[in-house]
């Protein structure tokens, strides 16, 4: 299928999409700065205020903004090891999310989870660090919504590398078989860490795989936020009204490395990547069309900067977990046996 034509978007809706993308980028830049701040001169992955692997989503903002514009906090979303853009666009509160990334007691998981394991029950948001394994729980959330006779949907998000995993295919079959209110979104950023898509995937478009499961499949090219918005809008509306699942693949962009510290020596096209940055492209498009006026973009950046600074300060000023409390939360009533 070709992507549906963009639904009529008001200028305000366009600015909202841009503003979500700006907030995400501002956040990722701040996390990146905090991540490296105390890892100099020698890079030690386990050192500093923000230790561990850090997978940032710069460049993939159009996916999050375009999909989540159709969701409410009652809808579920399962994200990947690269989850921040989806969490932010879905409305996860920045303060506890950031505190979790900083490993603080005030974090979403009280410092037990970390940046790949963010769980926010209030927005039905979760993510998993294991490739493709966020799809099966999304089925279950969709199943519960279906049983509860509501119109809520679940959205499962993976990268293109995940489309070669068993859980991906099992999930598509089961979702179509049971007509679950779920939408599958594949973020094709061309790279599975260092392996290019051409070396991992037998089909030109993962959306083609949808036909094998009897569901619509759509590929959105050019990292277009309005393209994502249109495709996701149609898919989510179908899921809400009992029409079953859809598979959407978005050709997006990994602006930075797989994780921070990745020198990307394997990436020949690296020099041209900044030119593909979706945010200035969309900004200029809106300026040209008159949807955005001079100064409005700077206003978005300013508001985003304040929100992000507040969240980072909250995290930094929050207490670290008590080491004596390391056994808590294995089970719901406390440490086992």
């Amino acid at each position: 299928m070709t992507p549906p034509t963009t639904q009529a978007l008001t200028d305000e809706a366009r600015r909202d999409l841009l503003s979500t993308m700006v907030l995400i980028r501002t956040y990722e830049e701040a996390i990146r700065a905090a991540y490296y701040a105390d890892k100099k001169p020698a890079f030690d992955i386990g050192a500093g205020l923000v230790p561990g692997e850090m997978h940032l989503s710069a460049g993939q903002e159009p996916v999050a903004a375009g999909v989540c514009a159709h969701l409410t906090a009652e809808d579920a979303i399962t994200a990947t090891h690269r989850p921040h853009h989806l969490a932010i666009a879905h409305g996860v509160a920045l303060r506890p999310m950031t505190a979790e990334i900083f490993g603080r007691e005030t974090g979403l998981g009280r410092g037990r989870g970390g940046h790949m394991h963010l769980f926010d029950p209030s927005t039905h948001f979760s993510c998993s660090g294991i490739i493709a394994e966020g799809f099966p729980p999304a089925l279950g959330q969709a199943y519960a919504f279906q049983r509860q006779s509501g119109s809520h949907v679940a959205v499962g998000v993976t990268g293109e590398g995940a489309a070669n995993q068993g859980a991906f295919h099992e999930s598509l079959n089961l979702a179509a078989l049971w007509q679950l209110p779920v939408v599958f979104v594949v973020e094709d950023n061309d790279w599975g860490i260092s392996v290019p898509r051409s070396a991992s995937t037998s089909v030109a478009s993962n959306a083609d795989r949808a036909v094998a499961y009897g569901m619509p499949g759509v590929r959105v090219e050019d990292n277009s936020v309005e393209g994502v918005y249109a495709a996701a809008g149609e898919a989510i509306a179908r899921a809400r009204s009992g029409g079953g699942p859809t598979l959407i693949e978005v050709h997006t962009l990994r602006l930075w490395g797989h994780f921070e510290g990745d020198a990307e020596g394997y990436r020949p096209e690296l020099k041209s990547v900044p030119e593909q940055d979706p945010i200035p492209i969309y900004r200029d498009q809106l300026l040209a069309s008159g949807a955005l006026e001079d100064g409005q973009y700077q206003g978005m950046q300013k508001i985003a900067g304040e929100q992000v600074e507040d969240a980072i300060n909250f995290a930094k000023n929050s207490p670290t977990p008590d080491p004596l409390d390391h056994l808590s939360y294995v089970f719901s009533e406390g440490a086992h046996s």
Binding site: P121, F135, P137
Partner: protein, 353 residues
């Protein structure tokens, strides 16, 4: 994330009531526990391969489809990652799924959902997300089903934090533990040995049929049972091996050898207190386990005692499956299983020294 379906009445259930006189097989006892809970709680549903019209390959769900219909007793495709993960997501949203993995041996195709998701979400979320789900599975050998359909593997689940691991040996415990498992707000792996189910189509111990109260009740998870009191030797065991151990204990009683048999009933939590109390009395410990010997339950139980007080142990030994795949040929399989003959030899050896 509270389910609007969750309309369970707050019942205070009896804890380990008198067994009464009505007898059921372990399979029927499990079915009854599921059925009674489903009748009062719309959020409970059963899902798995052949749990519907077939009634579960080992009869864990017989009759449930007729009573509750295909929406709540759902056959699945052979897609364990997808349907176990589906259970997890549904549990996160407030439902109480009972998911069957047909054989414990099949965890290889879906372990990520089990140990990286089902078992870890509560911890990773700092206690903010609960996964109240039962993952039940058949285990065990003795009927020549070969190396991929005869394993117990409960020690593997118990090794990984975040899941309770329940392994009933008899109908009474099976019903009470299943009720407790459904009631639990934590993920519970419920492992039933095929040889304790009371199936008409494989050899079974007489104890696979026993007295079971009709009303709902719970057997608390994490509490071992002294299945037989004794003074000379402690056998710590689980599941079908409990029956073999009791048979051996009865036989040796006539020779004046007094064997205490501890049925652990669950690996997680492990009732360390009951183990230590018994060995404090007997000074001799034999662990009987149909799971593989090394790096598992048997070593753990011995470590519990050794860490508590190594001087308690006058004698210690294990009767487990040696570290080989379960063989197909009957003669070979029974050479590796913890048979009554091997248990008896271990007891005689323990009291001889």
């Amino acid at each position: 994330m509270t389910s609007t379906l969750s309309n369970k009445q707050s019942l205070v259930l009896a804890v380990e009531p008198q067994a009464g006189r009505r007898k059921l097989s372990t399979a029927k006892a499990m079915q009854e526990a599921i059925s009674q809970r489903m009748a009062r709680d719309e959020s409970v549903f059963v899902m798995g391969e052949d749990v519907g019209a077939y009634g579960g390959i080992f009869s864990s769900t017989t009759g449930l489809l007729d009573r509750f219909g295909p929406e709540r007793i759902r056959d699945t495709p052979i897609s364990e990652s997808a349907f176990i993960g589906l259970g997890i997501g549904a549990a996160v949203e407030g439902m109480r799924p009972i998911v069957e993995l047909m054989f414990a041996d099949f965890f290889g195709v879906c372990m990520d959902q089990i140990y990286n998701h089902m078992a870890k979400i509560h911890y990773e979320s700092g206690g903010n997300v609960r996964v109240p789900m039962v993952l039940m599975m058949a285990a065990g050998g003795g009927y020549s089903d070969g190396a991929q359909h005869s394993q117990c593997l409960w020690g593997t689940f118990a090794h990984l934090p975040g899941m309770k691991v329940v392994v009933p040996s008899n109908p009474y415990d099976a019903k009470g533990l299943m009720t407790a498992a459904i009631e639990s707000d934590d993920p519970v792996v419920f492992v039933f040995h095929k040889g304790v189910m009371g199936l008409g189509w494989m050899a079974k111990n007489d104890r696979s049929v026993g007295a079971v109260p009709e009303d709902e009740y719970v057997v608390p998870i994490g509490k071992a049972r002294v299945a037989r009191e004794g003074t000379d030797v402690t056998i710590v065991t689980i599941s079908l091996s409990v029956h073999h151990s009791l048979d051996v204990a009865e036989k040796l009683a006539s020779e004046g050898i007094s064997v205490e048999v501890i049925d652990l009933r669950s690996l997680v939590p492990l009732d360390r207190e009951t183990i230590v109390r018994s060995v404090s009395k007997t000074g001799r410990l034999i662990v009987v386990d149909e799971d593989y010997q090394s790096f598992g339950l048997s070593g753990e139980v011995i470590a519990v005692v050794a860490e508590h007080d190594p001087t308690l142990l006058k004698r210690v030994s294990r009767v487990c499956v040696p570290d080989v795949p379960i063989p197909y040929a009957h003669e070979l399989e029974y050479a590796v299983l913890p048979t009554p003959a091997r248990i008896e030899a271990a007891v005689r050896d323990a009291v001889a020294k």
